[in-house]
């Protein structure tokens, strides 16, 4: 631990200009550079995950036909694609983009610091993360193929090569996930300590912008829930490679143990990604409604409440897994109760919009659509949390549609919201609003056309991880719905070209961004766009005088009141 604290040597470069050359980029300790590395790696992985979805969805819509750009999909490949699509989207897209990229970019800027408190640990975190990404991608092409035992990796299938037939793929999968956990533990400690200690003078706990709070609460939640799964990953690795039998019933092990370890982490994990997305949304909605956030503390308490409760709901994934059926009743109660703090967050955002002056900019459209779509995903969680109906719905496409209606809004919509909102700060250029709107509507409409058919299919009993539904007489007739979903996916992927075109356009000849294009209050908008190394000149570090959401204050001419403007200057 101690050797990794900053030493003077690493910071000789601090005074110099930004990173030099591509290698310097990868070796930089600047939080903004690391944020961008995380962002682009995450986006690249999103593209991979999306293309995987394209391949297996094509197979589902046109079973057995060669998929353009891929070829015929074998059952082994199908399982590997689904498994790694899920794994990548959660661990290499949602987490790096929402937590690592924006956590790194925003926390120091928003609390008025020049960097993270441990810049070198920060760099190490990204390097471990990059390694893990390479390992997971490599696992797809090794002999035997990628791991195909689902992202939940239930043993004995995952533990025994004789069952999964992908010895190397399965091992690399576990290694990659474990490395990713290490990367996020390193990053998380940095976020937490930075927020606790490195705040600008005058910034009290309730002056911290919500998105920073949410990312840090999410990091704490991650840290406290992932431990048992790290232990579990070690056991699984030993089962795979040394022949131990932690999860092998034949020698006294217990396959269900893994499920407990996995979901004890897995459920808090969904809130680990939800909270940052909520934070992003709240900040954007407050800015573009020109309203003070309604119930700052209430929001904070509900976030903590969700965090605490989330440790007591994990077995709702295991209602019918063979656990004691009496346990299901307890978990039904806790699961349904957790909807209350989540809903409360939504009400807080609604109350913030009430009485506002809502500007439908591109980031605001993304933020609002996050709310609209996530409500559907959350509401369908009620069907699953209620044990009686989960008997039928478990592991059907209803579950699948439920969690795509939560994860897609969080990871992709939330990602785009944050990206379009902070892009001017990050790169000093404005994005094109018109292209942004085309991209937005194309993505949102096609998203619903992908997953509403899947809700219907799930209700009809279609279950998950099947490469060809023609094998099941009751499911075969619904092929048209599958074709609709796949078509919508292709349309959505094509609309991403608009996004990339917008990016290229703005990099090449975008309008230079002013310091504070959205007339926002938080500190990052007082730095240059893009902020230089160190963010502010050392003798002009910001000082904070008020909370982050002072919009429309009655006593003032201007409708916003930046956190760093001294009260005296006011007259």
């Amino acid at each position: 631990m101690a050797t990794t604290t900053v030493d003077a040597h690493a910071h000789d470069s601090h005074a110099h200009e930004g990173p030099k050359g591509i290698l310097g980029y990868f070796w930089s300790t600047d939080h903004k550079v690391i944020a961008q590395l995380y962002l682009w790696t995450g986006m690249f992985m999103a593209l991979i995950g999306g293309l995987m979805a394209y391949v297996f969805r094509m197979q589902l819509a046109f079973p057995g036909k060669p998929v353009p750009g891929f070829g015929v999909v074998s059952p082994v490949e199908y399982n590997a694609l689904v498994t790694n699509h899920g794994t990548i989207m959660i661990f290499w897209v949602a987490m790096p983009v929402l937590i690592a990229a924006f956590g790194n970019f925003l926390i120091p800027l928003m609390i008025g610091a020049d960097d993270m408190v441990f810049p070198r640990i920060n760099r190490l975190s990204y390097q471990v993360f990059l390694l893990s990404a390479i390992v997971i991608l490599a696992s797809l092409v090794v002999e035997g193929g990628g791991f195909g035992g689902a992202w939940t990796a239930y043993p004995p299938l995952s533990a025994n090569p004789a069952y999964n037939l992908t010895p190397l793929g399965a091992t690399l999968w576990v290694v990659a996930v474990a490395l990713e956990f290490v990367a996020f533990l390193l990053g998380g400690i940095n976020f937490i300590v930075t927020l606790m200690n490195a705040r600008a003078p005058g910034m009290k706990a309730y002056d911290i912008p919500m998105v920073c709070w949410m990312i840090v609460i999410a990091s704490i939640l991650f840290m406290l829930s992932v431990g048992p799964l790290i232990a579990g990953a070690v056991m699984l690795l030993f089962d795979q490679t040394l022949g131990t039998g932690f999860f092998n019933p034949a020698v006294g092990g217990d396959p269900i143990l893994w499920q407990h370890l996995f979901w004890f982490f897995g459920h808090p994990e969904v809130y680990v990604v939800l909270l940052p997305a909520i934070g992003v949304t709240v900040d954007i909605v407050a800015t573009f409604s020109r309203r003070k956030l309604f119930g700052y503390r209430l929001l904070l308490y509900t976030a903590v409440g969700i965090g605490v409760l989330s440790f007591f709901v994990w077995a709702h994934h295991q209602f019918i897994a063979g656990i004691d059926p009496r346990m299901a009743n307890i978990f039904t109660v806790t699961t349904l109760l957790i909807s209350i703090p989540v809903i409360e967050m939504f009400f807080v955002v609604f109350a913030t919009m009430y009485g506002g002056s809502i500007r439908l900019t591109v980031p605001m459209l993304w933020a609002l659509s996050f709310l609209a779509e996530f409500m559907i995903g959350g509401m369908t969680g009620i069907y699953l949390g209620s044990s009686g109906s989960d008997i039928y719905l478990h592991d059907t496409y209803f579950v699948l549609a439920h969690f795509h209606y939560t994860f897609f809004p969080i990871a992709i919509i939330g990602g785009f919201a944050a990206f379009t909102y902070w892009f001017p700060k990050m790169y000093g250029k404005m994005l094109d609003e018109r292209l942004g709107k085309i991209h937005f509507w194309g993505t949102i409409i096609s998203f619903n056309f992908i997953f509403i058919p899947l809700f219907i299919l799930g209700g009809l009993g279609q279950h998950r991880r099947i490469y060809n539904f023609q094998n099941f007489p009751e499911l075969a007739p619904y092929q048209p719905l599958r074709v609709v979903a796949t078509t919508a996916l292709v349309v959505m992927l094509l609309f991403q070209l608009v996004f990339f075109w917008n990016l290229i356009k703005s990099f090449r000849r975008g309008v230079p961004a002013p310091k504070n294009p959205w007339e926002s209050n938080t500190l990052e908008w007082t730095a240059d766009s893009p902020p230089p190394h160190g963010n502010w000149p050392p003798d002009q570090m910001p000082v904070v005088y008020r909370g982050p959401y002072e919009y429309g204050h009655p006593g003032r001419e201007s409708d916003f009141w930046p956190q760093n403007v001294p009260p005296a200057r006011e007259a």
Partner: protein
């Protein structure tokens, strides 16, 4: 020092940044060992026949190692005290004693494991042994890592630099000690 980020020198909570970080590291470690040990305890209760395997472990060796670790924690405290008084050389000397303790611990462990393995008790022998090797192995890794880091801290401390790290590594070392205090009864005494 001026080239360090300003962020590092701030302390909004009043607790030094390094100490905060170490506590968070330990929090994450606690849940890792917690998950492993909880899994072990649950299995152990479900498998009374593991007692036979547990009876094979050598309680005396375990007790000796407990003594070694406790003593090394004590020297870590002395090192901290020396560092508090600005005595870098003294701190480094005490840290060397702690590292020595770590070395003894690891050597004894190596001897113990060789004996056990040569008697045929390997990690795949049965449920007890797989937990035994995994838990003690994970702990031993922490001992080794701690000893290495301590070497660097001691080197700096001897030159009078970064004395605050003596305390940080000490906190970590106490944690490693506490984990062993849990492992010892669970793996050696409970027969």
């Amino acid at each position: 020092m001026s080239s360090k980020p300003i962020a590092t020198s701030r302390s909004a909570t009043g607790v030094p940044t390094g100490r905060l970080a170490v506590w968070w590291v330990l929090a994450s470690e606690v849940v890792i060992f917690g998950g492993l040990l909880a899994s072990y305890v649950i299995h152990r209760m479900g498998h009374p026949e593991w007692h036979a395997a547990a009876a094979v472990t050598n309680t005396w060796i375990g007790a000796f190692n407990t003594f070694v670790l406790l003593s090394s924690s004590f020297t870590a405290v002395l090192a901290h005290q020396a560092a508090e008084h600005g005595d870098g050389k003294g701190a480094a000397r005490y840290l060397m004693f702690t590292i020595l303790g770590a070395l003894i611990f690891v050597c004894v462990k190596a001897f113990e494991w060789t004996t056990e393995i040569s008697h045929g008790y390997t990690i795949t022998s049965n449920g007890f042994w797989q937990f035994y090797y995994t838990a003690a192995g994970l702990h031993a890794l922490h001992v080794i890592a701690g000893a290495i880091i301590m070497g660097f801290v001691a080197r700096d401390a001897a030159k009078g630099r970064e004395l605050h790290r003596v305390e940080l590594i000490g906190i970590y070392w106490h944690f490693v000690d506490v984990v062993w205090i849990f492992l010892f009864p669970l793996l050696y005494i409970a027969k």
